[in-house]
Symmetry: C2
Subunit: 333 residues, 2 copies
């Protein structure tokens, strides 16, 4: 029985979305146990499950605008910190939160702790492609700076994830660069390229450009945290802007446009669901001793349930354990 | 009378699109003269204008897959190199090409030459926002690496451009970063932030995130060439993927969806035209002694004409001359 510690107080719709997501997941999976950290009375308002679930009460919580490292240090009894400590103490196998991302990164780093020989855990998400398979990208912003060796470790971690959690055999690894030729990029990219090309255990397919990401050009895309963050936010911002404009065009387009939209409803819905990658779960801070997963602050119960499913798969396939074994071989850098 | 040198042989639809764009521009503007470089017989097939236009014949051209610097050095009689040389010799005031971007950057850098005290010219484009005003971003990839001082110069250049060419008073300058707080980012961002904040001649509004770019959060956005290239390609790739998926959903959605799309036609067209920023012209390699402008390889006559309009505005407002004056004050770095 795998145990997942849930920060029930983080996110825009806490605790309702978290607790209802927990209800769903407990129905769907008989082999998990959930521990909910937060305000017991409020949690009980929404909790319908009665087996394999427990509540650890606390009044304290971390807010979305708290300074991350300070919050972790000062709010020792917050729902997020208690959830992370449960993993540290061996009382839970993984943490899920929809709260303050920076604080969760800090909690993961300082409380759960890094895998030996991994200097800089990276933030990994599965992002959508037009054909639906998706791709895993990291680092999406856990770090503001990375070395070539970090990126090399991300290629390994991303490959483990794509293979274990998404079932992709010999995942194709691409290095995000400003052109596809092997000579492209700044010194960081050139050095990373050499490291990736030299390791035959990786299925390295060379440089990939941001324009091709949604076309499924690679299964795993590695980049530094600064660029990854900018690319992720560009994709999100563009998708939101276009969908918003489409809606505006329809609403401002008179009766004809509205009738057209009504007839197109199913097609538009299908488009939206293809672009919506919340089914793939949340963002994993990968490189820690246990899964620490952030789901969107705006997550609803369904997304929370998907994220619990993702964590369950990570635990069942022991992707973290495999990483520990692999990186223990590395000489300390 | 301003003279614009046009590489008539570069781009997917050369020379037709270039020559037809020239025809249109000559009709629209009575105060410009165009010099077309390329295959005279082919150019004449499409040339309808007879005044203020001349052809300089050459058989040589640079291909899209030529190695840029080598091509510039070896193909001395190519249409692109001859156009750049005409500017260098004072026979033309600006260059336009739809050909090999890298080669045009090299031609700009080595033939047209940099403005004194500008180390690294940057690639600037006007990109779309949902409200239609757009924003200017640089560097979009002329450089793989930049220093804080380069980014500071881009803020000045971008401000000149937005004010002169787009008529925006005291343009708001944002620094692309991985968060809006002033303490965010890697050392490059932190150092750039200090430089921008210390210069009261700039209307610096602080850090901006990639997610907000299309919402018009700033008029000028500065970043290093690697990140700018990744962000530009992410925006383009996402927009193309979504529009492609929308089309696919409609085509695969049966009669109902097709009828809906027919009724929505005007709204979808309006959406497309809002996202299409070819009206704003091409990408300017800014920081050179004359306007060197790249229009998309796939540009049609209308886009070529828009780019000629853009160059005409740059020449009439003397945005390059203003930059020369401004940067001549700087101590050599």
């Amino acid at each position: 029985m795998k145990k997942i510690a849930i920060d029930a107080m983080g996110g825009d719709f806490a605790p309702q979305a978290l607790v209802e997501g927990a209800n769903q997941a407990l129905q769907e999976f008989s082999d998990i146990e959930l521990i909910l950290y937060g305000d017991e009375a409020k949690i009980k308002q929404y909790l319908t499950a009665s087996e394999r679930v427990s509540i650890v009460h606390t009044d304290e919580k971390i807010n979305s605008d708290d300074e991350p490292t300070k919050a972790i240090r000062q709010k020792k009894n917050s729902s997020m910190v208690l959830a992370a400590k449960a993993v540290k103490a061996g009382e839970a196998d993984a943490v899920l939160s929809a709260g303050n991302t920076g604080a969760l990164l800090a909690a993961g780093f300082f409380i759960v702790g890094r895998i030996k020989n991994i200097d800089r855990p990276g933030l990994l998400s599965t992002l959508p492609t037009v054909e639906g398979q998706g791709f895993d990208m990291l680092d999406l912003g856990a770090n503001a700076e990375n070395t070539a060796h970090h990126l090399y470790q991300y290629a390994k971690l991303g490959s483990f994830y794509a293979e274990s959690v998404r079932g992709i055999k010999r995942p194709r690894v691409g290095l995000l660069n400003n052109g596809t030729e092997s000579s492209k990029g700044d010194p960081l990219r050139k050095e990373t390229y050499e490291l990736l090309a030299a390791d035959s255990s990786l299925n390295f397919i060379g440089n990939v450009e941001a324009r091709e990401l949604m076309n499924g050009v690679a299964d795993v895309v590695v980049t530094d945290g600064f660029t990854g963050n900018a690319v992720l936010k560009s994709i999100e911002g563009t998708a939101l802007s276009i969908m918003g404009q489409l809606k505006k065009s329809i609403l401002g387009g008179g009766l004809k446009a509205k009738l057209g939209a009504l007839l197109l409803k199913d097609s538009l819905k299908e488009l939206k669901s293809r672009l919506d990658y919340s089914d793939a779960g949340g963002a994993v801070l990968f490189g820690l001793k246990a899964p620490v997963v952030k789901t969107h602050g705006s997550s609803d119960a369904k997304t929370v349930c998907s994220t619990i499913r993702q964590i369950r798969t990570m635990l069942h396939t022991d992707v973290v354990g495999k990483s520990v074994t692999e990186f223990s071989k590395e000489e300390t850098q």
